[in-house]
Amino acid sequence: MSADDKVSSLTALVGSAQHGAVAFTTTHWSVVLEAQGESPAAHEALEKLCRTYWRPIYAFLRRQGFRREEAEDITQGFFAQLLGRRSLSAVRKEKGRLRSYLLGALKYFLADEQRRAMAIKRGKGQRLIPLEDLRADERIEMEPANPVTAEMIYERRWALTVLEHVLSRLKDEYCAAGNAALFDSLKQLLPDEPGAPSQAETAAQLGMTENALRQAFYRFRQRYQSLLREEIAHTVATPGDIEDELRHLIAVLEA
């Protein structure tokens, strides 16, 4: 057996234990929570997070029945307000997850919007106009068209966003190293689906020995898991939450 059949150093196998841990200091959500939104670093972190995770918010609004332009406006307004607030003083660190926090903030935002809209309609000294009196097309359609509720759409979109982000980062890494073809081949092997090409076939296709492919795949998988972990870590408060969040994301994809 050639030298590259043996794993040259155990640290390759085992190393990510430390990498992962160090990465947690700089996860975005934890920075936001730690600073309670009061520092430039926190602001920047929150901005980064919003950049990635606006899509589930938008999807939620669409499912709620808002037209495209309305949904865009509200999304913009919501994030503007979120980032514009000087401090997230209300946000506490315990058990906080970005995913739930954002949705909750959005609903509150929506409720406020409604109240504001209704307040405008209230004349001086007049009573509040009850909801029924608003024109039909001013009211927000709350009933979704089919049993899939807006929340479920939000959660699903969130899970997919996480995955998209990770895969795109992984792809970038491999492409930058000139390994675009390797990425495309290895990614098929990840879910271990019956009917996917075997390692032997893939190796032949790429002109590698089977053993070399095995190692390459192992490293690919490790990197994928590490990036996934990192991405989830960016949205939770403590390391203990990562596994739970992952389980949650898997569960929402069941439907």
């Binding site: 794993v7 155990l10 999304t75 209300a90 689906e193 403590t238």
Partner: protein, 972 residues
């Protein structure tokens, strides 16, 4: 605003409703849509990463957000394993072929591997040391691992080989087909007996290792593997040594992973203190986890967890799982004592006690947890704060974020407070209606066992207050419901908002605009929405009760709500106002039930109002009791299993007949459907206390305080119990809370000061409250005569004492409560005591004779055993003072007979105390000492302060036996 995060750009091409299914995943069967990343099955892609993360903390989860993976996940997870098994090698390490990664911990990775030379499957653990590896560490690890390898026991995973390669250490051990304990119980909790059996076995295993000189040092669920037969196997012996350092600065948190199961002496890095008791602690922590589903301490971060485990006691297991009995709790908590010396002396002792419990035999451990919390250990280790600080510094260096934790208590994870709703109606008098809506919603939610719902008394104080976060903190709840009600004409407009108090974010909001007759539907909908938002577990019957409406008749409802407001007002007022309100309430309720004879809640409130009138003495006639009974009977006829009716009956039996046994039975039934009713616990606690079940009393007090944290009556009752148990720290803490709620009322400061007198024999706190010249303050002397007299007498200040007597001469009641329980001194007797103190023999004799004449009559007039016993006691004291030895002793004995401890543990202790005094006064020293020995031990018995300061004990002073008893009660 300019293009924001590409919203416009991206959304233009996205049409959420036009997702196509491109194929079905052949592995898990899920549909793969056109938005699937890289065309792969998203579910499978995420599942790959399950279990691969080093920081997953056993047992600690987000209670709000965890979704249990569906049952089929288990199947596909093992399917993943199988396919991986069939797949190819990961690599090689000397004689081992690495087949599959099966676990990742803080210290390293575990692989399933094949040992080529012997062609067997093993588990290979590779330790990643990185920057912490030094020659000394490696050497120590090898020694430890090799010593552990010599252990041969069915409960210990056998180690085959220990090796080192390229700076990494590894050892191979038997591969256990099964799983880690934490994984297994995460999927489904373990039955209590099974958990106890398991720990008993593991404890025996640990003892075996101890006998061979090996400590484990890292016992936690992750290190206990269960094989296919459910038998436990302990692994990873001594690995914690790996990163032990010589200095007192602690080891890096990162490598050790969760400190939730760590013993205090380990957490502060006191390596010399680590012993077999440390392993006992670990066993206790795992037992705690198995029984309650939570580790004994779990903060949001490592730092918080350590702080908790050093400074606080674990939550009473029965609060987390009521099915755990007291003995098992005792065993568990004994392992978790902060002071290693207080734990089981060996793992064997622990397993033996568990085995006794399993066989339903009495256990050896004594219930000490409540009496003397392990604060002493903390006091002896004041440097723990310093060590935490250095821990923090080290942790930052190693890369963890350290949370600036403001609180030391457990983070609030549950509970809801329904705040008073604001009345937005134009008619201000509809305020009671808004209160009624709030109350009904509160009552509905309170019926759900899975929720903690704060009682009305505690929330009403927050009327008009805004700061939800502070409210949540003060009431220890995670959520708050606020709302507004506007009623006009035949319509009602309700606005309700559920807020997460921890983050001050809205969780749910809804508006209702309906006819007035629909108000009950609104209340139901609000309750149902909250239940679903909070993801509370709700039973079928609970679901039904939420949807019940109190009455169909709106007018009757109006009357009921007005009456309820009056009854509540009555509890805060005094005298005439109180009576007036109650009578009015009765009137309104009678009208309500006339309109709607099926209005169950109205009947219950009616009974409550009648009983209040009887008990407070406004109408202490059998007729009043009969009226109450009639209302209760009506309630039962409407619904025989109604919790409210059972509660009303319990209240009636308690206040009307002092029939505690039957009251207790009724309370137990009521509790089944009214799990959040603080009043049930309020009533249960004094019953338990009276009947000598002190621990149950404490439990009930704690429950009541949890549900009604700002109710002064509840708090006082708890403080009295803790004081009786000589847990002065708790009693004082509760008094501090009361004083914070009622800062202007000096009564509570006085009571607090009295606790300090008992604890330390120090009169100064009381003197401070009363003021230097309290005897010149006539108002004080009138309102707090007992306290003034006590201070004067015990300070042996004849002038002050004379002043008190003079000021109180005109009061007709026996004004001087002796110990705060039941026995009280008459004015004449007190006069005699003071004269005696001044050395005025004749004056004393005259006063005592007058006292005697009066007291004889009083004794004869007493209707029942309790009051007779109390007055006989005083008579005995008087006769003792007059030197009438035989009469005094026989009166004392009779008093004890009439009210033994078995009949009333609280007042009975008083009687026993004074019987001892009588014996001392008449010169029967031996008898007095004998009685005093008992009195010094029982709850509500003698305290250090009383024995040191009370002149009544003067006859015994100097007697070494007396001094020994006094010393035994002295503060440590």
């Amino acid at each position: 605003m300019e293009e924001f995060y590409g919203v416009q750009r991206e959304s233009a091409r996205e049409t959420p409703t036009m997702l196509r299914v491109i194929r079905i995943c052949r592995k898990c069967g899920a549909k793969i849509f056109s938005d699937a990343p890289e065309g792969l099955c998203a579910r499978c892609m995420l599942k790959i990463a399950l279990g691969a993360f080093p920081d997953a903390v056993a047992g600690v989860g987000d209670s709000g957000c965890v979704e249990q993976p569906a049952g089929e996940d288990r199947a596909s997870a093992s399917q993943d394993k199988t396919t991986a098994r069939a797949a190819e090698l990961l690599g090689e390490l000397g004689d081992y072929e690495l087949l599959e990664e099966v676990g990742r911990g803080g210290q390293g990775v575990v692989f399933r591997a094949r040992q080529k030379s012997l062609n067997r499957t093993v588990a290979l653990k590779v330790i990643s040391l990185g920057q912490w590896a030094s020659k000394a560490h490696l050497k120590r690890f090898r020694l430890e691992a090799e010593a552990a390898a010599r252990l041969e026991h069915p409960g210990i995973v056998p180690i085959h080989e220990v090796g080192e390669r390229d700076g990494s250490c590894y050892f191979s051990m038997k591969f256990i087909e099964g799983g880690q304990l934490d994984e297994i119980v995460r999927r489904e909790p373990m039955p209590i007996r099974q958990g106890a059996e398991l720990i008993a076995k593991v404890a025996r295993t640990v003892h075996y290792a101890h006998e061979h000189g090996i400590l484990h040092r890292d016992i936690k669920p992750g290190n206990i593997l269960l094989d296919a037969n459910g038998e436990p196997h302990l692994t990873d012996f001594g690995l914690a040594r790996l990163v032990e350092s010589e200095s007192s600065v602690t080891h890096t948190l990162e490598v050790l992973g969760t400190p939730s199961y760590m013993a205090p002496e380990q957490a502060v890095g006191n390596n010399t203190a680590v012993s077999s008791a440390t392993d006992v602690y670990g066993l206790g922590a795992v037992l705690y986890q198995l029984l309650t589903g939570h580790p004994p301490f779990a903060g949001g971060t490592t730092y918080e967890t350590i702080k908790l485990l050093l400074d606080t006691e674990p939550r009473q297991p029965r609060l987390l799982n009521p099915k755990i009995d007291r003995d098992l709790t005792t065993i568990c908590l004994k392992c978790l004592e902060k002071d290693p010396q207080r734990r089981y002396s060996s793992a064997l002792a622990l397993s033996e006690d568990l085995e006794r419990w399993l066989k339903h035999e009495p256990i050896r451990a004594r219930r000490t947890g409540i009496f003397s919390r392990g604060r002493k250990w903390i006091r002896r280790n004041p440097t723990s704060a310093l060590l935490i600080a250095s821990l923090v510094a080290l942790a930052s260096a190693a890369g963890w974020i350290v949370w600036k934790s403001g609180f030391v208590q457990h983070p609030v994870t549950t509970g809801i407070a329904v705040l008073p709703f604001e009345n937005l109606s134009e008619e201000k008098e509809y305020g009671f209606f808004a209160d009624g809506v709030q109350d009904d919603i509160l009552i509905k939610l309170a019926k759900i066992a899975d929720l903690k719902v704060i009682s009305r008394t505690s929330v009403m104080q927050y009327r008009g207050k805004q700061n939800v976060h502070e409210i949540g903190d003060a009431l220890r709840v995670s959520h708050v419901l606020e709302g507004t009600v506007r009623r006009s004409g035949g319509k009602v407009h309700v606005n309700a908002q559920l807020v997460d108090a921890r983050t001050d974010t809205g969780v749910w909001a809804e508006q209702y605009d309906r006819d007035l007759s629909d108000v009950f539907a609104i209340e139901t909908e609000v309750a149902q929405s909250i239940v679903s938002r909070l993801k509370a577990k709700i039973s079928a019957s609970e679901k039904l009760t939420i949807a019940e409406r109190p009455t169909k008749d709106l007018a009757a409802y109006d009357l009921y709500v007005r009456a309820a407001a009056l009854i509540d007002k009555a509890t805060y007022e005094e005298g005439e106002e109180q009576t007036k309100n109650d009578f009015q309430a009765v009137d309104l309720l009678n009208q309500a039930v006339t309109r709607d004879p099926s209005f169950l809640l109205a009947y219950c409130r009616l009974a409550e109002a009648h009983d209040a009138l009887y008990f407070r003495g406004d109408d202490r006639t059998p007729n009043r009791l009969a009226l109450a009974k009639a209302a209760i009977d009506a309630a039962f006829r409407l619904k025989p299993d109604s919790g409210e009716a059972h509660f009303a009956l319990a209240d009636h039996l308690y206040h009307g007949y002092f029939d505690y046994d039957r009251a207790r039975d009724e309370l137990a039934i009521a509790l089944r459907t009214l799990p959040n009713n603080a009043r049930i616990f309020d009533l249960s606690a004094p019953i338990d206390r009276r009947q000598g079940r002190w621990h149950d009393a404490v439990h009930n007090h704690e429950r009541a305080m949890e549900l009604d944290p700002r109710n002064v009556t509840t708090l006082i009752a708890a403080a009295v119990t803790y004081r009786s148990l000589r847990d002065y720290r708790q009693a004082l803490a509760i008094f501090d809370r009361i004083i914070a709620l009622e800062p202007k009322d000096i009564l509570y400061r006085l009571r607090r000061a009295r606790v300090e007198v008992r604890e330390r024999a120090d009169l100064r706190p009381m003197q401070d409250v009363l003021g230097k010249n309290f005897t010149d303050n006539p108002a004080l002397l009138r309102t707090h005569p007992s306290d003034c007299f006590l201070v004067a007498l015990w300070a042996r200040d004849p002038v002050a004492a004379d002043n008190v007597l003079a000021a109180t001469a005109a009061m007709t009641d026996n004004a001087f409560g002796a110990r705060g329980n039941s026995v009280a001194f008459s004015h004449a007797y007190a006069k005699g005591l003071v004269a005696r103190m001044k050395g005025d023999g004749d004056g004393a004799r005259a006063a005592f004779n007058a006292a005697r004449a009066e007291q004889e009559k009083v004794v004869r007039a007493q209707p029942d055993d309790l009051t007779q016993s109390v007055e006989l006691c005083l008579l005995g004291l008087i006769d003792a003072a007059l030197g009438r030895k035989q009469e005094a002793l026989s009166e004392g004995r009779r008093a004890v007979e009439l009210l033994p401890l078995t009949k009333n543990a609280l007042d009975g202790a008083d009687i026993l105390y004074f019987y001892a005094v009588i014996c001392a006064e008449v010169g029967e020293r031996d008898l007095a000492i004998e009685q005093l020995k008992t009195v010094a031990k029982i709850p509500a018995g003698a305290s250090y302060g009383e024995l040191r300061l009370d002149p009544l004990w003067d006859p015994l002073r100097g007697d070494p036996r007396f001094e020994k008893i006094v010393a035994s009660l002295a503060p440590k």
